[in-house]
Symmetry: D2
């Protein structure tokens, strides 16, 4: 079978094509024929050697993939041959609160990931995906969608609240979709009027071009009648958190889920006290969250937004495209 | 001005028309020209002398009304002349958890209500209503809608969950609307196929005629793929709670909000333990909940379902109509 | 090795002594030399054939045991040889919310239990016990202590609240201890002044002899200055729930954890609505709860209250003693 | 009557003694004979003109005071003449979540405070204090104690968790006391071994002298067996938040309640994401929280730690003493 490895993280050209034997599932394990893999910004950081956590090397990269179970090891009862499944991001976070252990089981980082024709996972480490989704769509879920779901549903999510999502990457577009499902009003920021128009078509009620309006925090306050935003899905990191703390309402929440502006910046934290803000770090989520999200996706026949699908041979091009930030929604590799 | 009083609760004919001077608002009070009043099952129980709580007598009945502020007393700052407002059900429950005191401030029961051309309330006891609503629609909110909102939003309300609402009275139809706004899947029970069809038009995904299918609990389990319902809005009381405990899922919730089957029955509580159910009594809600609900109603331009509007002179007919249980949604009196 | 089996549940004499080979731990499993087993009221119901859930038959009874890991199967990493452990009540409830599956993994009921010299459990199904506890004390924890912990800590547990515990059985005494650790004020009911004196020595602030004062609900209201109890640990079931609903405060909680008065009774549920009570069924708890509880037990060097220790050969006597309800705290069998 | 005013905030010498007539309580108001006032770090910032919020000028300073109700205006029902009360910090935050309005009602800042022989407050703006407390002790509660209570009780507060409090000022010592009441294990940091010894006498289990051990975050991790602290009461602000983010466990919480290191610093927020931390700003709390806290204080006969009591004429000395940071617990002015 074919797969890619990162042996030395040196940028978008780090992916090395490799041939290996198809692995065998052991007790409690399943063999998955991977049909699609989706990319996250984390995959880019890993390829660039800029990801702040310990990596397995050489590493089969990419955390998010979906495929069909083609063989089950002894003692497998949760799933069966033929099931259409996705791997869960942290193989060891099934339920309840996050633990230090969970992060050491993240696919495509601490352990091998999904950019291969076949992978073996523990039966506990997969979820059955909604039947109306293609493999490309299902592959979009494990990191970005679960992150958005976790951020939104573990805090006050009542119809009528204002949610602001930054940009139009994978997490942000899922957050837009889920917040809309839940009856929230969504404000989207982007540097592109074209992307904002797409967001509007998906139901965004407030649109801010942060290049045209660099003080987007002030604009967000205006768009909420001066009250401030209830919940901000913060993907920028240090470079945007300061404005997010301005834009959020007294007693509101900022879910810190990404660091697109890089990990090096600093911010004055005093608004946290002054406005009694809750700033909550969100790192994907548990299998239980994934399952609950799938119920919502299935009920509403919601479809992930796929920006572009690359072939397996174009994996490096896919990374490069992600790096360009031209995308709206998810970038996918068909396997 | 005209108003109605209950001097002796003896049934639907207890309403006595009375003429009085228009009252004057004192410090911190507002004078409201009432334009519409809506009826709740509680108003029927009060007229029948079957309501289990202490009543002021003689009593201006009915808790729910909307109108225009036509005069403000000294020191009024929260609202102003011309504001379109509704009274809050418990004048003393503004925020936070319920207190024993709150129940002693319920309009149309412990204190005078809204069935009058003019009423005086404390400025703290009103909320501004969404501008797209007529007075008839706004009058539908204080008891039924806030009850449904409280029941739904103080528990896990995530897109994709299953909510069952019993019947098609005021609370149930609001619960259907709010649960839909929040992305839930809603199952409705009724004794009328016609009402079920209307519920389906409003987005109900599961329909059960409990006369045709008396074991509606079994049907509800089927409609949730054997899992059971996540959240049941229980309006029947002792007569239906047993089946609700069957229909709810392991770890699910039953919000007990009404007693349409009468207060006298009994039930075996063991499924509460066996299935680790949460049974939660809900008695309307706070002003904060009302305000949060209004934001959702305004955002989604949601309209309360008004079954029928009676004139002020037909107040007793309105009560009689409510007693007949022919309605779908709210019964209103234009003042 | 020696063990007991129930082949036919026919009362306290159902325990059949059996000799078997010591089992071998498979992949991910551990072999435990059991040193002590504790009894719960559930074990009595199971022996009597009155337990409402499906039983494995023949069954090694009793859910609660502690011992030493003497051998580990392949792939065991969570624990090691020599660890002093207890089994968790539901082998399949590790974290997060309860699931329907969890109940089908309960030791000494759905699957074989701990009344044996050796047992094999999955590595996921054990917790390391606090080092200051003897095996007799550690064996007291899995069902009764975790139940009390779950009931108390999944609701508002602030210093200064009033908690009422019914009786002086295993769960109730643990609830007394944990509520005291958390700064609550505890009221205990019992039919024995002697037991009430013991409870007072353990820090109970309110004592009610419900034989001398059958209307213990009224007494509980008096003992809380007329406010009612914040949280009632309800072990009686249908026969006591009615009074608990009287005794609890407006907005308070009743944790339904047992059915000592038998499963057959009925109750009028209307106070749930009238007082906006939360009635929550509690069936033991997850491994995460067990671990969190162990931290508290270790920090405070808390010791379970052991009423009496029987020898392995006296297992039936232990059951009979439990049936007599003479105990205060836990009844234990040394293995 | 005598009082102090700040006319121009220019440091610890800004307090101007003034003579005025005793005010009269209007409708719904009460006249309080103030017996004691306590100081908070905020009072120092206000006197120095460094407090970041809008001030009323001239201003009667200091938010925290206790005294006796000597006269009630018309319509007062919540309290009566002779009641021993304290003012609540934000006169407009009674219940529920904080609102933007609440901060504009803070005593001794947005509105006149308590450093006067007599003050008039709304009946809603006072709480009856526990009867075992002296006025000096009761005056210590409104800001510091409620802040500590809010920070601790609005998050997971289970026996056995680790809480770290920074320093030995008013909030920190109350947090130590309340965390102990709730069964937590408390770690205290200080620059003084003498103060640490006092903290140990009050039950602190971990002691860190941050001058001797500047990397107190590493020490805190060691003191929690490598796991990290569950909950940090952060009073330092930007200058200490970075180390707090190191010291807290994965999934833990930092309650940001003060800025003793000054408001100007910056911090890299990435650990919030990396460790899924919750950083929550806490600005005192509601009247409901004050009442709940008083129940706990009364039950446990807990006594605030008063470092030193100054006379009314020594008000500026009291401020100066607070500035010196020599105190352990609260600094009080007897009126």
């Amino acid at each position: 079978m074919k797969l890619y490895e990162i042996r030395e993280p040196k940028g978008v050209n780090s992916l090395v094509p490799v041939e290996k034997d198809v692995p065998k599932p052991g007790p409690g394990e399943v063999l998955i024929r991977v049909h699609a893999v989706s990319l996250n910004y984390r995959d880019l950081l890993i390829a660039q050697g800029r990801y702040g956590r310990a990596l397995k090397l050489p590493l089969i990269p990419m955390s998010d993939g979906a495929g069909e179970i083609v063989e089950t090891g002894p003692g497998v009862t949760r799933v069966k041959r033929g099931d259409r499944v996705a791997g869960i991001f942290m193989q060891g976070w099934l339920s309840g609160d996050v633990t230090p252990h969970a992060a050491s089981t993240a696919l495509g980082g601490a352990v091998d990931g999904m950019l291969a024709e076949y992978v073996v996972l523990r039966q506990d480490g997969v979820v059955v995906v909604p039947s109306h989704l293609s493999y490309e769509e299902a592959a979009a879920l494990p990191c970005a969608a679960v992150t958005a779901w976790n951020a939104l549903t573990t805090w006050t999510l009542k119809p009528g609240i204002n949610v602001l999502v930054q940009g139009t990457g994978g997490v942000s577009i899922f957050a837009l979709q889920f917040a809309r499902l839940a009856g929230a009003r969504v404000i989207v920021t982007s540097s592109s009027d074209q992307k904002l128009r797409k967001a509007a078509e998906m139901g965004a009620a407030g649109l801010i071009n942060y290049q045209a309006v660099p003080s987007w925090d002030q604009k967000a306050i205006e768009l909420t009648s001066g009250m401030g935003v209830d919940h901000i899905i913060e993907v920028g990191g240090p470079g945007t958190l300061g404005r997010s703390m301005n834009a959020v309402r007294v007693g509101g929440r900022i879910s810190v889920i990404g660091l697109l502006t890089g990990p090096e910046g600093v911010v004055n934290p005093m608004p946290i006290l002054g406005k009694q803000i809750q700033v909550q770090g969100i790192f994907v989520g548990s299998r239980d969250m994934f399952d609950a999200m799938n119920r919502a996706i299935a009920l509403h026949q919601l479809r992930p937004v796929i920006d572009r699908v690359f072939s397996f041979g174009e994996a490096s091009d896919a990374l490069r495209y992600l790096e360009s930030r031209a995308h709206f929604g998810k970038v996918v590799i068909a396997v």
